[in-house]
Symmetry: none
Amino acid sequence: MNDLVEPSSDEAPLSRREQQKEEKNKALIDAALAVFSRVGFAAAKMDDVAREAGVSKGTVYLYFDSKEQLFEEMVKANMAPLMTEIAENLARPSISATERLKAHMKFFYTKILNTNRRQIMRLIMAEGPNFPHLAEFYHSNVLSRGQAVIKAIIQQGIDSGEFRDLQGHGLVQNIVAGALVAGIWKLVFDPFQPLDLDAYFDTHVDLILNGLKA
Amino acid sequence: MNDLVEPSSDEAPLSRREQQKEEKNKALIDAALAVFSRVGFAAAKMDDVAREAGVSKGTVYLYFDSKEQLFEEMVKANMAPLMTEIAENLARPSISATERLKAHMKFFYTKILNTNRRQIMRLIMAEGPNFPHLAEFYHSNVLSRGQAVIKAIIQQGIDSGEFRDLQGHGLVQNIVAGALVAGIWKLVFDPFQPLDLDAYFDTHVDLILNGLKA
Amino acid sequence: MNDLVEPSSDEAPLSRREQQKEEKNKALIDAALAVFSRVGFAAAKMDDVAREAGVSKGTVYLYFDSKEQLFEEMVKANMAPLMTEIAENLARPSISATERLKAHMKFFYTKILNTNRRQIMRLIMAEGPNFPHLAEFYHSNVLSRGQAVIKAIIQQGIDSGEFRDLQGHGLVQNIVAGALVAGIWKLVFDPFQPLDLDAYFDTHVDLILNGLKA
Amino acid sequence: MNDLVEPSSDEAPLSRREQQKEEKNKALIDAALAVFSRVGFAAAKMDDVAREAGVSKGTVYLYFDSKEQLFEEMVKANMAPLMTEIAENLARPSISATERLKAHMKFFYTKILNTNRRQIMRLIMAEGPNFPHLAEFYHSNVLSRGQAVIKAIIQQGIDSGEFRDLQGHGLVQNIVAGALVAGIWKLVFDPFQPLDLDAYFDTHVDLILNGLKA
DNA sequence: AATGAATGAGAATTCATTCAT
DNA sequence: GATGAATGAATTCTCATTCAT
């Protein structure tokens, strides 16, 4: 949504002041992602976020009301651009379902697993129960949309005869599962047993497409 | 005297005192699981663990040196019984690879996902980066063993002609992924979109077995 | 602007903020001296230091990293001015060795024993073994310098024929000993047997000068 | 006083039980001296005292009511034997005052400075202000008696013409001071500037006797 | 008598948040 | 707006003392 607004909107162009504010906001969001990723919500210090953003402790509170709010805004800000891209994936030109599924999964690996957005994925899992509000936001804005895309692709595949009609409860989660696990693995177990994301991706797609094949 | 109390056990007989210590240790481990599950490591209060175990604050420190140690011991204590069971799964009577894989996955759903051990799974993912020691323990004691079992089953299936020889990097992780995601989902998103573990299990097995089929 | 406030000082002008910090630092050092003197290091409560300095508990930690550091800094801060004065005593105009020794001892009684620096003397003796770092600092910055002065005076006296050449191991310590004991006595036994420092000083000087006399 | 009772008193000889109690009491006193010397009163742990005495924590409380009491009893127990010896020094065969003073000082160096009783000396200085009760005990039982002996010797010396009649306030403290300082030095500064007690003793005696000489 | 498990008051230290400058 | 000094509630951990066994 934000992307659409940017270029030639009818809002007043941002003044110097507002621009600087925008930049500082961005810096704080980035710093927050870095710090929360490193140590989790509870152990993160506002002071560290401030330092990492190059501002003073007090300044953080000019932009965010509290640590909780900073955390939520950080997650949302990092999710927003994703959401529009997912939406675009829903309305795709008519290639085969198989190709669309591959492309969507590629998107997942490229835009999330291979960036530090995977940290957010982990944070959601780690802190979700303490931030039901946030879990719900994530579910309805990211997961639901992602599910919709995949469901549409599967239906297209069934209709075209590419996929069998599996009809299972939780099919979508099962399809994506491999990707989530890859993300977690990279963050937690990679030092002990490294994972090559590209090769892993191939296995994932191979297994799932074969599993779905009519 | 004590020997008479525990007639049918050839283990070292525990005195009354030692028995009570054992019980209290167990109570603390259980309390720790409950509290850490609820709020994560950093936000957990030793005081709450104590209260939940029905002892005083100071007592916790008679059993565990620090919050860190309590956390690690709690994880290990909850993993230990699992590890032996996994080992048994490795040496199974000669049924088909398909049946063995189903059985092993059933085991996973029954012994982990459906118990509060899934909380531990989540804690490992959430706190792993802050407890490399623990992540390594978990990897080498639980994950490695689980991987070995599945690899053996797959090989059996390839040998018997049941499975194709997929040879993919991260195949095992992809096979189990659905289960992990189910566990996380129950803990984080169930309130917003409930998951029926039994039905989900069927989908998971169906998709994977079909994906592996020769 | 700040420069105008401190016109007659060529030191780096302190801003209001910095001035206040300086003052608070001083207040904390003073409070620390008072509290540590009263109950010793281990029994001293940071809370009491804070209250005595008129700040909150947390503030103490803005100025000092730990109780240990506060203790050490307090000792050093109280010693610093002394050290320069001792140095000046070394380079004295040419009066007789006898007069110089008297003067130096007077200095000792006036600047240490009769102020609450004697508390520090006692703290060094009491806590020294637990703070080797500090004991060493005290030894090399205060004791060594003091010893040097006295040695120089004695040599002058020997050269001038005022003193005999005693050549004893630990002569300096023996010369000063009476003063140290006076300090301790005032702090520990004065309630039971009061000590008049002035009269005591006379005895001390009399005994030592006679003992050194050629 | 206790000494007089010991040998042929009319009390029943100690039973096995009482003997063992006596031994344990002794062990605890010794352990207390060791621990308090090491870390001072506040930082000393009853647990350490118990362990060092080879008994359990609870047992300490069968012998002493509290940490305070243990500390006081430990000091008293270590002082008691000294007190009788000092008393004997008072009633000495008729040798010259000079020789008596030397002998008394030798006694001081041998029985206190060269044993771990010097630790007690330091503890009195360190903790005295927090234990006025103890400081008073030490003053009236040890210091007063020691002072009496020295005063008697000095008077003898004046009468015999060996010493001049200095008449100074605090003369006794000044005479003994060198010894106290030696004790402290060994405990606090020896690592940085070692002190040879024997040579130091000679200097001390030389300086003082010369100072007193008629 | 002896033990050592349990208690809980107490102390050091941290850090989100506020607010004077 | 920005700063960073100050606050004080909160939390971990310690240890003298008690008491059931």
